[in-house]
Structure formats: C-alpha cells, structure tokens
Symmetry: C2
C-alpha cells in the first residue's frame, strides 16, 4: 500500500468528500440535549446511508427497539433511578465481512458533539462548516466527526480500489460527550457481535510538532452537579448582608476545600490507590511532553494547574484531577446588582487513573461535599455520572509494533507513545466485551480547540486519518 | 390633620391614583443599563408632568445640559477616567414655595430600579404592574417608585385640600441602584439650591410586625467586578486537567480567602476603624430585631451568615460585610461539559459602617484580591464604585421627636429606631450639601422582595406612605 494512496483518493474526490463530511457537521448532534435527539437520529440514519454502499450490514439500535430482547420498562426505570435524564440517542452497528477473515477490526467513533456555547464567541456558525485557509470550522469538525469521517473515507478508498480487507465491525454512538449511556447499557448484550482482535478509534491527538502518536493510556472520568441553596429567593445584600448565608460565598469555600493550597486533591480517600506509571512509561511520556514555554505559547497561560510537586507530564497523564467545569450564581450582567443569591451551582468532573475505582472515588467526592456543606445551606448532588476507570496498555504488544511501523512510514520521525489525560470511557467497556486490543491513534492537535468555540480540523489532518486507515487496515489484513 | 385624611383621598381617587403609579412602573427604568436610558428620560419627563400641577417649578438636569455652567468635555473625561460607563441618567429638581416659608423640606427619591433578571422567575411581567390580593407586583413596585409615589400622592392630597405646607424641594434621580453617579457629580453645584432643614426619603422599611420605624443609620456601600483569566480559550478538562490553571477553581479559592472560617472578614485593614454602636443604639436595635426563628420563617434559611461571634442584629446593622453578588464561569447548562473555563467573573460588594473610609476599604479589598491572585492567572478589577460611607444619626434630635409623635398617631405601638444594613449612598452627599437633618421613614417589608423576582408593594403600604407624608409635612409646617 502506497503512503500516497489515500491522499490521491482525496485529491480525486475532494469536492464530494468534503461535502459528505460537511453534511454530517451540519447536524447539531449535541447528545446531552434532549432537544437535539431528532438531529442525533438523523445523523445515525445519515451514517447508515454512508456505510451501506461500502458493503456494510448496518443496524441502528436505540433503547425502545430493545423491547424484543428485554422489556423496555426496567431499562427506563433503571435510567430514571440513576437520575439519568439523557435522551436515548441511537447507536449504529455495522459489519463488513473481510476478504482476509482471519483478522477482525472493531472501529469505534462518536457522532455526538459538545454543546456549542458560548455561541457569541464563534466567528462562523457552529453548525455551518466553513473552510478557511485549509481548515474546516464547525462544532465536531475534529471531535469526532472529522476524525471518524477521515477514517471511514480511508475505508471507502480501500473498498473502491478492491483492496483485500480484514473483517470490519463499526460501532458509532451519540453520547460519548455525555457518558455513553445507551451504548454502555447495550454493551453486555452485544458482546458476541462485537468480538474482535483490534479495537481502533480515531479520537486522540498527535504529539508536539504533530508527530504521530499512539495513545497507550487514557484517564477515566466521572462528573456531577452540586447545588447549594440558602434563602428561598434572592435577597438584598444590604438588608441581609452579614445575616443571611450567601450560597455564592459558601460554594466558593466548598469548591476551594477540594484542593490543598499546593494544588493537590484534598478529598479524603480519593487518591488512595493511584498506581504510579512504570519507569518506561514515565520516560516515554516525558520525551513527548514539550516544555512549559511551548505550553504557555499554545494555551495562553503557564501550565501551573494541579499539584505543585509534580511535573506537567505526570500531572496531565498519570495523576487524577478534580476540575470545576462551571460555576453560576447570582448576577452576571453589566454594572452591579447587590443581591445575596438564593442558590449557587457548580459542575464538577474528575479524571481517574489506574488503581482508582470509579464508585469509590465518586463516593469519596460526594462525602467530602456533604461534609463541607457550609452551615445554613442545603446541598444537592444531581446530574451524576459514576464514570469509567482509567487504563494503561502494555507497550510491547504486536499491534503496537505494527502501528509503530505504519506511523514510521507516514512520518520519518516515527511514532510517540502518549498517555492522554482525556477519557473515552466507552473504550474500557468495548475492550472488555470485544476482547480486542485497543489501538488509539488520532491526528488531533491543540489548535483544533475541541470543546471550545471555533473548533476546527485541518484538511491535512483529515487526510492523515484517511492515510492511517488505509495503511493500518492493509497491514492488518496482510 | 386627621390620620384618615390620606386614606380618604386615596379611596376617593383610587382608580386614578393607581393608574398614575402604574404608568410610572411600566417604564423599565434600569438605570445601570445604557439601553434603558430612553426609558429613564421618559420617567423623568413623566414625573415633571406629574409635579407641575401641584405648583412645583421643575427642571430636568442631565450632564449634557450643564454645558452652560461648565464645559462638557472635562465631565465626560472625568467619568471615562474613572471607568464610569454608566449612562448619564437625568436628575429631576423641583421646588414649591411653601405657605409656611420658615421651614424647608428636601425630599429625595429614585425612579430607577434594579435589573429584572432572572426574568423567568417572575409570575407576572416585571414591567406590567399586576394588582393581586391587594398587592401591586412589578419591578420597582416598592423600591422606590411605590414609596416615592405614595409620598408624592400625600403631597398632592395636601395641595388639593389647600393645607398650608412648608417649602418643598424635591430631587429625584435615576441611578440610585448603580451608584448615583450623575447626582453625585451635580451635587456640589446644587448646594445653594438644595439648602433645607429636613431631608426626607421614603426608601426604607418598617420593623418586625410592620411597626413603624425611623431609620437612624445606614451602611455605606462600594462594589467592583473581578475577573480571573487563565487559558486563552476554554480547554478540554481531560486533556488539560492538572496542567492548565482553572480560573473557576482559582476564583473559588480567591473568594474563599475574603473571609475566615468563622465568617469574619479576612481582608487586612478592612475593619481597622469600625466604630461600635453606643449601648443605647445597640439596645434599641436589639429590641426591634426579631428572632432567628422569625428570620428563618421569612427568608427560608437560618440567619447564619457573617461573623459567627456576633448576634444577627449587630451583624446586619453595625458590622461591615463583603458579599459575593454573583459568580459566573464555564458551563451552566444541562448535563455536563468538561471544560476548563478560560475565565471566571465575580461581582463583589461591601457594606461599610461609621469609622470606615470608603477609599481605604476599597484599596484594602483590591490589594487583597491582587495579593491572593492564584498563580498562572491574570486578575482584572473593573466596574468599580468607590462608594459612600455609612452613618448613624443622633437619636435625640427635634426632628426625630416630631417623627416619633407622628408615627405614634399612625400606630399605637409607636415608632422603632432601626439601623438598616442597606445603603442610600446619596443621602450622605445630600445631607452634607443641604445642611438638612435626615429623616428616613419608609413602609417597606421583607415580603416586598425588593431586588428579587416578583417584587411587590401592598396598597395598604402605599397608603401608609401617603399618610406619613400628610401628617409629617403638616406637623413640620405648624
């Protein structure tokens, strides 16, 4: 397989390929928002139509369609009991019998995207893809619609050229950004159908200077919303100042209690079983880590978050975190409004590393919040996601060796190993039920600004995804 | 003067009086919002039209109209230099020669209102007054349009009946809720015009059980907005968690640093010169203070804010405060969005008591914020209002004796003295330039929910304002 094969295909079909990618980007598939359930269903249907001409059998599964297998009510009841009010976004399952049936590849991707807010900060409409200076701007342009479409376009190039392929299974979901609820529920019933040798996903990033990277570990994630309530309604802060408890102040104190002054996590029991990385893992991670100056230039501030006694690579790859994702209380408009707010809300998420058990850390976090609830206020925890564990993969596996060869052909610098701080919780689940070895290679970059306004993906990065798919699938079929 | 005089007038003219009050309430006079400048100008014009038939000479003054007196540019430049971007909301000045010219009363009121948000929590439209069960619901229904219209309706009842009055000066402004910028600027040039013996305002509350109250002191106020900035844009909290500084966390820590664990103010120098109340003041305040249980029943939470070693009356009347009026950062929608926010903003206001110098406490607060700025982040202070001092008035003055007599006629329980925690900063200024003795009697109640959604004012309270005006002005003219 020539390393130019995918790029040649892209050049020959550029207009059509971009238009198909853009069609998917135009669907505002915010999987966490019940109002966008219809758009998510449309995206699943669109992907089905995209995959079938390549020889895939495709099925769209959503909880109500499970009625035949198990009664709907228990599932709904179970979801409600967990406080899960997320919409039942459909999952797409596809399978293409290979010309080299000895090897089965399971490809995972997600067609849902992060919410587009703050909308005012977008320079182009978030759901109208704009091609500017070789980059496509849209919510999901990279994460994950861009990377998954790049990969699948590589598959299409191979299929159209009649290149012999391994058996390909595809699972695409619409809730990765909000906890993969439906797919996690379906997973046990799909164990047989998803058996595979290699589990590929194209949802990660390259290393510094865009050197190709194999992600050898991910952190787990869990999250919750905490609400502090004081007065029954907003109060005049002159009349009541010094008398009524102030939830905005109480929340500040509560959130500040989660970390010590040195930035380390202060939640009792949260970090008890953290497994440190091996010397090899630490050394490889450090070699691809970049400098503080590079980080500051890219991100706009120095990398001084987290525990002060650890280096930035260790903090970003091998240590857990508790982060505040949002805080809202009281007045936020122009000028001033002298109120004591009735309530204050914070969105909190944690990242977990190997050794930490999600149920145990979640319980420790909730216990800490309850124990530190300021006097005179009521605390409520809602919108909880108990989460997924982190993992690290053995570095010497045959699949990693093959991937290193392929990435060495794509880039003379060869491949880095990375331990990303981000999470793809469903990867842990799919790894268990499929029995496959995860192979996480993606071509994201900090410039892509995923989860932020003005998310984008370079056309060159898109072609890298295609190239990676063609070379690696060809290598696996050989 | 009969105590029923005002109520009889109201009963005879009920429809017309309510409609005039409602006309004023329909104007969305949020003085802090530049988009509402036109509505503020319309309110000033409406009040002019309301006052002239009673024999008042009326002038509407706004900064541009001062061109004749002093050049406009320095004023604008001065405002800009202070970072004052508030709109130049007009001030209304009126004067009615009295039939008893030996005594001059200066009446102060404000026609501006607090912002109406959160709009969704209003059960009736905030600028469409609704009369329900004897209460008028609207933003400003009480504060201050209801109380000032009640007072001025009392004046009209006296004028129409031909009752001899003292000389009446009226100053109505449209920026009380945002710092009285224009009136404070104009004040020095108005010193001669506003000379008076008594300075009346109807912008305070009754005591527990609606017992009439004379406000013998007010706290001062100052406020600012603080913004912490970290990354140049929102970041993925998995990729960057533990690496990038998190402004939402940093702000929590910064705000928590303003108070000690026992609730007392931790800002160095802020409380240095606080003058404690006299034994008489403390005893009188305690007698009108109510219990913790009454407070909890009224407000929906126990009165456990502020410093834990002081009782609730002392904390609300005689101690300074620093309160967080709002905090906003990152995601606040449904579900979760795993970002590290680029910035976090807090609205902070302080209440000051006698002995504290506003410039000194303001400097101490800013110095504290800067000294505690979390590492890796930038701190900016904006939207500042340097503020006004607090004051307490001597209890034995002749005006207070007269007011006690009048209120004793209105209510057999007699009058309480109160030291309100709220502020009317311009009262200090007007007191100085007019040479008048302040007499602050109002008929507000906790139920009125001023500054909150569903603000309201009882028609009975409105009539009390009228009655107070008729009895007290008649007494002063005698």
């Amino acid at each position: 397989m020539d390393t130019r094969f995918a790029a040649d295909y892209f050049d020959a079909h550029r207009g059509a390929v971009l238009e198909e990618w853009f069609e998917l980007l135009r669907l505002p598939t915010v999987g966490a928002d019940p109002r966008r359930l219809g758009d998510c269903a449309r995206a699943a249907a669109w992907l089905k139509k995209f995959l079938r001409p390549m020889g895939f059998e495709v099925e769209i599964v959503s909880p109500p369609s499970l009625e035949g297998e198990r009664p709907r009510e228990p599932l709904e009841t179970e979801r409600a009991a967990r406080g899960d009010t997320r919409p039942p976004v459909p999952v797409l399952l596809a399978e293409r019998q290979g010309e080299r049936p000895g090897m089965t590849v399971l490809f995972y991707g997600h067609y849902d995207v992060q919410p587009e807010d703050p909308v005012a900060e977008w320079r182009t409409p978030p759901f109208e893809p704009s091609l500017l200076d070789g980059r496509v701007y849209a919510r999901g342009a990279q994460d994950n619609k861009g990377q998954l479409m790049g990969f699948l376009m590589g598959v299409r190039a191979l299929v159209e050229a009649g290149v012999p392929l391994p058996t390909l299974k595809v699972v695409l979901e619409g809730q990765e950004e909000s906890g993969s609820g439906v797919l996690t529920e379906l997973a046990p019933s799909l164990a047989l159908r998803l058996q595979a040798d290699v589990l590929m996903a194209c949802d990660t990033s390259s290393g510094p200077g865009r050197q190709p990277a194999i992600t050898a570990g991910l952190r787990g994630v869990q999250h919750l919303t905490v609400t502090l309530t004081g007065p029954a309604h907003d109060l005049h802060s002159g009349v009541h100042g010094g008398v009524a408890p102030n939830p905005a102040q109480g929340l500040a104190r509560l959130l500040a209690s989660l970390h010590r002054a040195d930035g380390s996590i202060a939640v009792k029991g949260f970090c008890d079983n953290v497994e440190p990385p091996s010397e090899e893992e630490r050394a490889m991670a450090m070699s691809g880590g970049g400098t503080e100056e590079q980080y500051a230039a890219e991100v706009g501030c120095p990398p001084w978050g987290g525990a002060q006694d650890a280096d930035m690579v260790t903090r970003g790859s091998f240590l857990p975190t508790i982060e505040i994702n949002g805080v809202h209380s009281g007045y936020g408009g122009p000028g001033s409004k002298t109120v004591i707010p009735s309530a204050a809300v914070a969105k909190i998420s944690a990242r977990l590393v190997p050794g930490q058990s999600p149920p145990e850390t979640f319980a420790a976090l909730v216990k800490h919040l309850e124990a530190h609830c300021p006097r005179g206020m009521r605390l409520a925890v809602s919108d909880t996601y108990g989460g997924a564990p982190g993992f690290r993969l053995p570095l010497g596996s045959p699949v990693f060796r093959l991937a290193e060869d392929v990435l060495g052909r794509m880039d003379a610098r060869g491949a880095l190993f990375r331990w990303e701080g981000a999470s793809i919780p469903i990867i842990s689940t799919l790894r268990h039920i499929s029995g496959a070895a995860p192979l996480l290679v993606g071509f994201g970059s900090e410039d892509d600004r995923i989860h932020s306004p003005n998310e984008s993906f370079g056309v060159d990065q898109f072609v890298h995804c295609m190239t990676w798919a063609t070379l690696m699938l060809d290598a696996l079929a050989s």
